[in-house]
Symmetry: C2
Subunit: 501 residues, 2 copies
């Protein structure tokens, strides 16, 4: 592990002894990190942009350094500049769970480093992916038609945006095969004003004209869910203008507010209009492993595709997004490749809706992806459905507690009723001027985040600035939610006092 120039024979990059020793050192480093993670400010201090760039050398080192030196630099230069997503007091965005089992799966994925891009390039890896996506689908209560065992099937992608791009391309190519490519100008896609912004990005990526992206307004009356009536009206207008409704994105658990679009109503409307229905359950899909949340997916058998991210709230380290489709052929028609240099590794299937051997290169944007299946499989094996449901329910319970505390405190209000583990609230709703209330809440949020004791983010709905508390960290327990409520109350007092309110 010296720092002298290495020749190739001394490099031995996978020498088992060196591998063991150095890997254990990293394990120790991370265990210490988890032990101390709540000692760091949750959100990175407001560093000056470019700070790390100034500290680090301008070029890669000529000579290698011992691992201890590298870890010391991580400790000294990098950790202070991170936002600690694994802190138990991280309540921002949505959670991004790490776990011991997810990490074990990551290690197996990275260590074996196989690439099941065609079935034969690692049959067990491709098959394990088929198995775990079916397992996950069953846990969520998805219909057989979305599982391999029922003629559909799934894939583990890296992100919802990729899932959206792939299914948009599938829908687009299905439509254009009928209409001719020049009709790409007539294709229209629909989402609500609460739909994740990556849907718009995905639609642009696949060449849908930006003018054909419909953002349909939602309101408090429907809990910010997209109504079938609103979709119908928008589609009618477009059809009257000679446009072609292509794709409707429904969200179960929106990013801003955790709102739920009514899947059955929207699915019926999509069927009537020949639109592809995608259900994005990136965050809330994890909750659907608990029967008490499966109603939110009622009507999902009408969907052409469904996605959810185990890397959010399902103890599965980044990255992992389950995508299920009712028609694998629609997906692979848009994404397949068949060059000569892949042809020698004979693949089965081909003509049937349930291919005997799945070539995942035709189910995703890239040719190859990491062995994500083993990660999700280890999580499922290690914790079991029972353990994972307990994980979800403890956060829902804590969020319920927080929602109630906010409701009871007359200085605060809950802005949108909580459905999962996200609580959207604000300070002192009865203050006369909305702008002033917004400013108070901005100050409150800044004060909380600057304290380093917790990190939350905000949203704006109906012009109101709202604070979001997303419960779901791997280490987050009831006590952390109680602590953050105490912190909020204290900071609220300070803010109100400062304004002599």
């Amino acid at each position: 592990m010296g720092s002298l120039p290495l020749d190739a024979s001394s490099l031995r990059p996978l020498d088992p002894e060196a591998f063991s020793g150095e890997s254990r050192a990293v394990v120790n480093f991370l265990a210490e990190y988890y032990r101390d993670v709540d000692k760091y400010p949750v959100r990175a201090a407001e560093l000056e942009p470019g700070l790390l760039r100034k500290v680090l050398p301008e070029a890669a080192p000529e000579n290698g350094a011992p691992l201890e030196d590298v870890l010391e630099d991580v400790r000294r230069e990098i950790l202070p500049g991170l936002t600690h997503w694994q802190s138990p007091s991280f309540f921002a965005y949505f959670p991004m769970n790490a776990s011991t089992a997810g990490f074990a799966g990551e290690m197996l994925s990275a260590g074996l480093n196989v690439v099941p891009f065609v079935w034969a390039a690692s049959p067990a890896a491709a098959e394990l992916e088929c198995v775990v996506v079916d397992w996950m689908g069953k846990l969520l209560g998805l219909p057989q038609s979305l599982l391999f065992s029922g003629g559909g099937g799934g894939v583990l992608q890296g992100s919802t945006c990729e899932a959206v791009v792939c299914t948009l391309a599938a829908a687009r190519d299905r439509a254009l095969a009928r209409l001719g490519h020049e009709n790409i100008m007539r294709l229209v896609v629909y989402a609500s004003d609460q739909t994740h912004v990556t849907f718009q990005k995905g639609a642009r990526l696949v060449g849908i004209p930006p003018s054909n992206f419909r953002v349909i307004q939602t309101s408090a009356a429907s809990g910010y869910g997209l109504t079938a009536d609103a979709v119908r009206a928008a589609v009618d207008r477009d059809v009257a203008r000679g446009l072609v409704p292509l794709y409707l994105c429904a969200t179960v658990g929106t990013t801003g507010l955790g709102a739920v679009d009514p899947v059955r109503e929207l699915g019926e409307e999509a069927r009537r209009r020949g639109m592809w229905l995608h259900v994005d359950a990136a965050y809330a899909g994890s909750a659907a492993i608990c029967p008490e949340f499966q109603d939110h997916l009622d009507g999902v058998e009408l969907a052409d595709s469904v996605s959810m991210n185990p890397h959010k709230w399902f103890l599965t380290n980044m990255d992992c997004c389950c995508l299920w489709v009712a028609s694998p052929r629609a997906l692979t028609s848009a994404l397949s490749t068949d060059p000569e240099y892949l042809r020698n590794v004979g693949t089965g299937g081909g003509g049937t809706e349930e291919p005997a051997a799945v070539d995942y290169k035709d189910w995703q944007i890239p040719l190859s992806h990491r062995f994500r299946a083993i990660k999700l499989w280890v999580v499922l094996r290690r914790y079991g459905a029972v353990g994972l449901r307990a994980h979800i329910r403890q956060h829902v319970t804590a969020a319920k507690w927080f929602e109630r505390a906010v409701t009871v405190d007359e200085r605060f209000e809950v802005v949108v009723p909580r459905k999962f583990s996200l609580v959207c609230f604000r300070l002192w709703a009865r203050f006369p001027e909305d702008d002033a209330v917004d400013d108070l809440n901005r100050e409150l949020l800044a004060a909380v985040n600057e304290s380093g004791q917790a990190f939350m983010t905000h949203f704006v709905v109906d012009g109101k600035f709202v604070i979001r508390l997303a419960v779901g960290g791997a280490m987050t327990e009831m006590k952390h939610v109680m602590d953050v409520w105490e912190l909020l109350q204290g900071k609220a007092e300070e803010v109100l006092r400062r304004h002599q309110i």
Copy 2:
């Protein structure tokens, strides 16, 4: 670690003690795997598709199981069904390097599990990415104009296909901003018959009409490189028909044969026609850290974008693809998003070509990606440029040795002169009938792969079936290349004897 149902309080998914213990068990498992990897058949036995699916339960387990049970299942059910990409005798496709340093970096990435999708969501992670892509660019001899330090910049994506999709979208949107979206039907993209198939997939994904995808023929005369004359002729034809040349993909080190497109000539042609030039150096880019290979990138200052994959031959576990662009703004114009719920984490930059703070969500398809920078950074720190050059050179030396052995043996011929570490050869070129020669080579390749002692793949060029030996595994040393040559000679004798030749 018991198998009893867990409640949330006993799950403790990031308990430092449990994390340490279980992670060490996985490290031991992998060290043992590396110790024994050459005992497995390199390519997975020809299993019956669906075999693993039949062995595993149909649904996820209700109750968790101890880690030992999970690892035992990996050993028993999964390892036998894998193709062992880390075997020293894996010579198929291109290498997919794992290494102790790459693994350490993966562990840090997975363990910290931060998401630098906007700068402020983990400033040090975003900045480290800026630093390492600049380091890598300098190692490869890229011009300042492609680095952050010179007004360009880079990102670590997951795959070349993603890099191609993003740059195609950037080129498309730049053109359509001028022409109007309806002119998407007039946009034409160019590649050679040796270009990786994911380019065609990428072009389809971004909505380029399939009829506007030009595959330009190459030949032995140019070493299967794309000539500027051929591009010019194709572009002239298209322009005469009122079409708009959009994007030209040049490859340095093609997948089939390791051919090199002349970047300077193609760059000049692209400039004249206002086309985006992308240089795909996925595999051979790693070699360019050695000065003796940098000539293959001559003219790269004319490129709008360049990509290479450290996850291939650069000791960086899957996945990691460096993408550099000359104009970050062209990229981010096509890929940016700016929703309210990301707005509170104030970002700098914005108007300038070198933003103070880089929001990587606007540089890629997904909103967020893993902390890949720390992985590549650990590889660079741990091995240094000296160690990495030695890694590359030992494989080039071994490939040279193999090429010479093939040349000297009159039963074989080298089909295309070797440029890097890929040797393309075949058995007994002077056999009269081409079909018969192809059959002999097919038999030879099958015999080698079925032996389990090595794994190679094939290619077809000018109608000839060619065997590819891609040297570059993390454990592959000269002795393994000598062994595979001995194996090939033995199997060739058997094949020839069987045919009484």
